[in-house]
């Protein structure tokens, strides 16, 4: 054996979900990584390095949380492979640290015994001893160590207590594999393990006789109450939603004005020409269009992190399970779909917590039908025009609510149909969720996680979106015609010509070619529709957004077809609304779906399906309405 391979012995951390394995991993290696209260946050094997008290370097593997080594789920398969040394690129670990929750020894020791049975040297990290002692459990680590035949280290990983003692146990020579004392010849190994654990717990972890009412129980009696629980659920999520909308607006304003200032600065530096147009309208405009989503994403993930880390998220999933089951989904789909009301992009990213692969795909598929905030400017433009009113009356609020309800209901119906078609998962999934005790949020992990997500979004989606923005810019700029105003230039460009070509396609929906063009430009981002309409219908822009919309509305209500009929009849407006509810006019979403679903086929299929669905729905509304005499 060479010196370097001695220096780099590998230890693997294994334990049930929520045993504090990832917290211990972070405390050992100093690497920052997410700790969620949701079962199964660690999906891949992560590795890091740590040092023993003597300064010897050790590699640490953080295996996925699992309940047994029977390889029921992909996570458990990975854990078993890593322990038996069959994971590609990983040798058999030199030592296994079994992380157990001291207040749950009856459950967690199962896995420890299975590891010992594999013949691997083992150290037991008796985590969360503080919680266990608070519930009145009397622990006897020395007795536990004696009975199991392995070193036992009581610790509190979240407070970094016991880390040094654990490192002491990792000194050379490493402990040897212990004898299996519980398995007698011919007996059922399951039953033998069970009997041994029950005997062991009676000896070394005596529970108080009376059932204790912990603080978590008291909180749960309110938060999971059949009636009150719903009041809290609605209250909490309404607050989160409101906070995302109202707080995100401030940094979004900064980004927009910063983007404007940068564009202005670049414009003043460069001579007028295609290159300037590319940089100002294509690159800065395109990148700004991405970055502007960032505050919402950051806030949403901050709140998700808070709710998850405090333990409330699994309660919400528990409460919502019955509602989501009507759509063929489970409680775990609630959060991603809810997030999608703010923006489908973080919503799609949040589907990672869903265990069932098929349920996750279905959730990703319908998420864009939860009306996102980018549609709001369009709704604000059209609804007052439809009702012949100024902005902001209760009738408009009612229409807006109807729009949200229509999108959500359709999403649920389609989810149900799709779930039925995809069939059951290979392993039947039962609703099964651990409700962890309420804990104080771990801010450092939450902030780190939010930062990771934000960077991932900017990096990965940003490159794709930027490319697409430049493409759209090129389409609406070339071929050029000199000496004409913006509207004619746009009409002359490839985009304008496409608009002309597609007029026969959108005419049955009650739209003219200019609206067709505006809709096409809105596929980069929905809110672009309003500014495209302003250019196409020649409205002078002012600085005030609301005034812009009202000017545009005056212009639109006067627009007529060549034969003198008004274009924007109530029916055409309803048809336009329906189109915007259903169409997936958001290339960033498609890019993120492709990444999260791992398949461009799924993303493009979703795009085509939703656009076709929107077209058919608008067609039915317009033509049906005409037949009924509207």
């Amino acid at each position: 054996m060479t010196q370097s391979s001695i220096a780099l012995s590998t230890i693997a951390l294994i334990g049930n979900p929520n045993a504090g394995k990832t917290t211990l991993f972070n405390a050992l290696t100093g690497a920052n990584q997410r700790v969620g209260n949701y079962a199964g946050v660690t999906v891949e094997v992560k590795s890091g390095e740590t040092y023993t008290p003597h300064g010897r370097k050790i590699r640490v593997l953080d295996l996925p949380g699992c309940y047994s080594l029977r390889a029921n789920s992909p996570d458990e398969k990975v854990a078993l492979d890593a322990l038996s040394g069959t994971l590609p690129g990983e040798a058999k670990p030199d030592l296994v640290v079994c992380v157990v929750d001291a207040s749950n020894l009856e459950r967690h020791l199962q896995l420890t015994l299975q590891v010992i049975e594999l013949g691997l040297p083992c150290v037991l990290a008796l985590n969360m001893v503080d919680v266990a002692e608070r519930t009145g459990l009397r622990l006897d680590p020395a007795k536990l160590s004696e009975e199991l035949g392995i070193p036992v280290v009581p610790m509190q990983a979240n407070a970094k207590k016991g880390i040094v003692e654990l490192k002491q146990a990792l000194r050379l020579p490493l402990p040897v594999a212990s004898e299996i004392t519980w398995n007698s010849e011919g007996a059922d190994p399951e039953a033998a393990r069970r009997d041994f654990i029950i005997r062991l717990c009676e000896l070394a972890a005596r529970r108080p006789d009376a059932h204790q009412q912990t603080l978590s129980d008291q909180i749960d009696s309110a938060l999971l109450h059949p009636i009150l629980g719903w009041v809290f659920l609605i209250g909490i999520f309404f607050t989160v939603f409101w906070a995302i909308f109202s707080f995100a607006e401030i940094p979004m304003g900064w980004i927009e004005s910063g983007q404007g200032a940068l564009a202005g600065w670049v414009s003043s530096l460069m001579a007028e020409g295609d290159l300037r147009s590319l940089i100002v309208d294509g690159v800065i405009g395109g990148a700004g269009g991405v970055i502007v989503f960032l505050p919402q994403i950051v806030l949403l993930f901050l709140f998700i992190g808070l709710l998850e880390s405090s333990g409330y998220m699994s309660r919400a999933a528990y409460l919502m399970d019955g509602v989501m089951a009507k759509a063929g989904l489970s409680g775990k789909s609630f959060l991603p779909l809810f997030s999608s009301y703010a923006c489908a992009i973080p919503g799609v990213m949040a589907t990672r917590t869903i265990d069932s692969a098929k349920e996750r795909l279905v959730t990703i598929f319908v998420a864009p039908w939860m009306s996102c905030s980018a549609r709001l400017p369009v709704y604000f433009l059209i609804i007052p025009l439809l009702l012949h009113e100024k902005e902001g009356t209760w009738k408009q609020a009612l229409v807006l609510f109807g729009i949200y309800a229509l999108g959500t209901l359709t999403a649920f119906v389609v989810a149900r149909l799709l779930r039925g078609r995809l069939g059951e998962d290979i392993t039947p999934g039962h609703f099964l969720l651990e409700l962890p005790p309420y804990r104080k949020p771990q801010w450092s992990y939450i902030l780190r996680h939010v930062l990771d997500r934000a960077l991932a979004f900017v990096k990965k989606a940003g490159t794709v979106i930027l490319g697409l923005s430049i493409l759209l810019w090129a389409l609406s700029t070339y071929p050029k015609k000199d000496g004409v105003d913006d509207a004619e230039a746009l009409a002359h460009s490839a985009m304008g010509r496409i608009g002309e070509v597609i007029e026969p396609v959108v005419k049955p929906l009650g739209f003219d070619g200019r609206m067709g063009t505006a809709i096409l430009t809105s596929f980069a981002a929905r809110e672009v529709f309003v500014s495209s309409m302003a250019i196409l219908y020649r409205v002078d822009e002012s600085d005030d957004e609301e005034k812009n919309r009202s000017l545009l509305r005056d212009q639109l209500s006067g627009s007529k077809w060549p034969d003198g009929r008004p274009i924007f009849t109530p029916l055409a407006l309803v048809s336009l609304l329906v189109f915007f509810i259903y169409a997936l006019q958001c290339l960033p979403t498609t890019a993120v779906v492709a990444r999260e679903a791992g398949s461009w086929k799924w993303a493009i299929g979703q795009f085509v399906f939703m656009t076709a669905f929107a077209w058919v729905a608008s067609l039915l509304v317009f033509q049906g309405g005409k037949l009924l005499g509207f």
């Binding site: 029921n72 039962h430 099964l432």
Partner: protein, 84 residues
């Protein structure tokens, strides 16, 4: 009476976790059904005590100090008998 028969009689008098009253402490007698391995991994083992905290579409029970929410289909596979 043979031991096997005694066990059988005992199981006859048992009920499923679904039938247990909310707020009751019960002892797990037997697991039977396709998901019983999964249940054992989660801590639903023979002889252990469970307190049923809430019923309904999904049950909440407290087992060894942990709260678990499990579906009715899973709870149907857990046979319990009242303590005491």
């Amino acid at each position: 009476m043979s031991h096997a028969l005694a066990t059988e009689l005992e199981i006859d008098s048992a009920m499923t976790l679904n039938q247990a009253k909310v707020g009751c402490d019960v002892q797990i007698r037997l697991l039977s059904g396709p998901a019983c391995e999964r249940l054992r991994d989660l801590g639903f083992c023979e002889q252990l005590q469970v307190r049923k905290i809430a019923g309904g579409r999904n049950l909440i029970c407290s087992i060894c100090g942990t709260r678990m929410a499990i579906s009715r289909e899973l709870a149907e596979q857990v046979l319990v008998s009242p303590l005491g």
